[in-house]
């Protein structure tokens, strides 16, 4: 059309087309977006959040909630042979459509106009909100979602404030037990179908669906089935209202009291990014945190719920010294002095250290420094193999195997069998065990350890090894300490302290420092990281703060996270925004 005589002054459409972009006018301002961008994403990128319920970038877009209605316009089609009108900037005039379109399932095109404000759009939103609230119960004081509920938020922003509806509300099942970890309240459901699509598309266990029609539409689980997938709690995360809530978090605490701490999961080598929600010194829940290179926005239930041991009865809260077969509480100073003096009596070859793949890089580094100082062999780690699933859980259940390889060098798990035989032979007289229960998890028998003159256990919870130990040192759990770990894909990530350690428990690195692994005046884990970065080439030029909340790739491993592979395939096929 106009391409033939635009040699001197290129039109905006040609300039954009050169980069594979299209020009879109949003609320009167022109922007450029890649072809195929959803209208809702385009608006979000320029700071215009379009309210929505059913749309989720990681799921398909059925466009059934109608909340994201916006006004759209295209240039009028000119008569054949007639040049279209252009303004002085080279854009064609926009012919606004009299009816709205949904922004979530439509893509942008050249010279398109979008209005996210204006009378038509506001009327639409108000109308949709009114329809959604017709049958919605006034449960907010009871509902766990209150405070993070999209319906509440959009009601304040786009609702009318008062109901015009005088008839009885439709009654549906409440407090339905649909699975071991999820509770369903059908009256609160606004039929966005996010949970149904999640179970179908991501968890690959399509047990949820709608029955009945119209105002009686009811979310149900398939007859004879349960919502018992190991990813079921993600449905509670994505539910925009309080229809699906977590049994574990049910009525525990209102969300507005909770403090969010970004951290990472330590239950397997994937290193899922998490947010720890705490009030005071108590963890109330853990939810996945968005990271497209690790866990997308999901996490498995088994990992999410594994935090109750932190304030359980089994926690060790003060150092213990065994005297006459009985443990007695002791101060840190006494236990560390006793330990140091006992180690001094040993010969270098008689001491061995077992560390853990659940320790951070800094702690592993210090345990190696301690081994150098004592003159014993490098610390050995205990391998922890489980079953991988097809999504996020890795077979390696140690979160920091890659980090241990970088820090300690070689295969950190290799030395365990030779160490075992050395202990049986009596060649090793003193064994320091950090963060591992070697009787339960490494196949050591009580009789194996009987020949030791000194067994030290540093662990957060009581266990058979601690019972057998001469000195027990209480340590911090993953939520109580800071540090860094490297996941199976080689990504260096950061743990953050969400709560203070229970009782007198201390960080492993502080214990290692007090045993002489590093200068006594080291008080910050940042300094330990810097000392480590000077020795480990992968971490050179890095500091703890440079890692950021999304992590950094420090080594190539070729590890594939299956969920991400699946998600990228769906994105390439255009099924999801991603």
């Amino acid at each position: 059309m106009s391409d033939s005589h635009s040699a001197t002054a290129k039109k905006p459409r040609d300039l954009a087309a050169e980069k594979g972009l299209v020009n879109v006018q949003i609320d009167g301002e022109w922007h450029q977006f890649p072809k195929g961008t959803r209208m809702i994403e385009a608006c979000r990128q320029v700071g215009q959040e379009v309210p929505h319920y059913c749309y989720h970038p990681k799921l398909s877009s059925p466009g059934n909630c109608r909340m994201c209605l916006v006004q759209m316009g295209m240039p009028p089609r000119p008569t054949p042979g007639v040049e279209p009108d252009v303004d002085e900037e080279g854009y064609q005039p926009i012919g606004w459509m009299p009816r709205p379109v949904i922004a979530c399932a439509n893509t942008v095109s050249e010279n398109m106009g979008i209005k996210t404000r204006g009378e038509l759009v506001e009327k639409c939103r108000e109308g949709v909100m009114e329809f959604l609230l017709i049958n919605h119960p006034l449960d907010c004081p009871i509902c766990d979602q209150a405070g993070e509920c999209r319906l509440q938020e959009h009601s304040v922003e786009h609702g009318r404030g008062e109901s015009r509806f005088v008839d009885m509300k439709v009654k549906k099942p409440k407090n339905v037990d649909i699975g071991p970890r999820i509770r369903l309240d059908d009256e609160r459901c606004i039929m966005c179908s996010r949970c149904i699509r999640f179970m179908d598309e991501v968890a690959d266990d399509p047990v949820l669906g709608f029955t009945q029609r119209g105002t009686h539409t009811t979310l149900t689980v398939h007859p004879g089935r349960l919502l018992d997938s190991n990813y079921s709690l993600n449905t509670a995360d994505i539910c925009p209202v309080g229809a699906l809530t977590s049994n574990d978090f049910r009525f525990q605490m209102r969300v507005w009291f909770l403090k969010e701490t970004p951290s990472i999961d330590v239950n397997c080598g994937t290193g899922t990014n998490i947010t720890i929600w705490t009030r005071g010194n108590q963890i109330h829940r853990i939810t996945p945190r968005h990271n497209d290179e690790v866990n997308s926005t999901w996490m498995p239930d088994s990992h999410r719920l594994n935090f109750h041991y932190i304030d359980a009865e089994t926690r060790l809260t003060e150092p213990l010294i065994k005297e006459g077969g009985q443990h007695r509480p002791a101060s840190w100073q006494e236990s560390l002095e006793l330990l140091t003096s006992k180690l001094e009596q040993m010969e270098a070859g008689q001491i061995a250290i077992i560390a853990s793949g659940r320790m951070c890089n800094e702690e592993l580094f210090l345990s190696q420094q301690l081994a150098d100082k004592l003159g014993c062999e490098a610390p050995t780690l205990v391998a922890r193999e489980g079953e991988a699933d097809k999504l996020l859980i890795a077979a390696d259940r140690n979160p920091n195997t890659t980090g241990a390889k970088l820090v300690l060098g070689g295969d950190p798990y290799a030395g365990l069998d030779s160490l075992r035989s050395k202990i049986k032979d009596g060649a090793i007289k003193a064994l320091l065990v950090f963060g591992e229960d070697i009787i339960s998890d490494a196949g050591f028998a009580d009789t194996d350890l009987a020949g030791l003159e000194l067994l030290v256990q540093a662990h957060h919870s009581t266990n058979p090894t601690a019972l057998a130990a001469d000195i027990v040192l209480p340590t911090a759990t993953f939520a109580e300490k800071r540090g860094s770990m490297v996941n199976l894909s080689g990504r260096l990530q950061r743990l953050n302290r969400a709560i203070e350690p229970q009782g007198h428990a201390r960080d492993d690195w502080e214990i290692l420092r007090d045993l002489g692994a590093i200068d006594k005046d080291t008080h910050l884990i940042e300094d330990v990281f810097n000392a480590m970065a000077a020795k480990v080439s992968e971490f050179s030029d890095l500091t703890l703060s440079k890692i950021g909340h999304q992590g950094l790739i420090v080594t190539e491993t070729n590890h594939k996270i299956l969920l991400l592979e699946k998600e990228r395939a769906a994105k390439a096929a255009g099924k999801i925004v991603g």
Binding site: L138, C140, P141, K169
Partner: protein, 188 residues
């Protein structure tokens, strides 16, 4: 801002030595003493004092029936006409409380309970009366009309623990309050 200089009042000699004022004050006191003995002091009847004057013999005598309708005393929880707990432990009062006097531990109503429909009630509800400033914000914010400021002002105790009102004590002070709350029926 303009500065206004205030002139010191010029006192006469009689005023400067205060003697006249002292004598006038003496006679005023004596007049009240006599009127008190005769039982004619100001408010002797209306204030229901001991009869010998305006002084109230607290705590044998109290001013309870003189308290205005809007008096803000101890906050307390109320039950409805069927003795159901109105509070659903939404924790808005805990959130709004300026001195952080309220502590709630939420709990679930067991499904075999007669009023299980409401699902939630406080497991523990504590108000620390040492902290409470009687501002009434808890009453104002409560969406279930479950907490009210009563006229109780005699909150005493021998220890800090005594001064913490637990759930039992709060319902004891609060008593019953009738009025429509829709959460137990099918209307909400």
């Amino acid at each position: 801002m303009a500065i206004i200089k205030v002139q010191r009042p010029k006192l006469k000699f009689g005023e400067k030595i205060y003697l006249g004022a002292l004598i006038r004050g003496f006679f005023l006191t004596m007049r009240h003493a006599v009127r008190t003995i005769l039982g004619k002091s100001v408010g002797a009847g209306t204030l229901k004092s001991s009869g010998t004057g305006v002084t109230m013999q607290f705590p044998e005598q109290t001013w309870d029936d003189q308290l205005p309708e809007y008096y803000r005393g101890a906050p307390a929880l109320v039950t409805d006409e069927e003795d159901r707990e109105r509070c659903v432990s939404c924790q808005l009062c805990e959130f709004i409380c300026p001195p952080k006097a309220i502590k709630i531990i939420p709990g679930e109503i067991p499904t075999d309970d007669k009023w299980a429909k409401v699902e939630k009630r406080p497991k523990e509800f504590e108000i620390d009366m040492i902290r409470c400033i009687y501002c009434g914000m808890c009453e104002e914010v409560c969406p279930e009309q479950a907490i009210y400021l009563r006229k109780d002002y005699l909150i005493t105790g021998y220890s800090r623990e005594d001064m913490v009102h637990d759930k039992k004590k709060l319902y004891e002070i609060g008593g019953k309050r009738v009025g429509l709350v829709n959460k137990w029926n099918e209307l909400k």
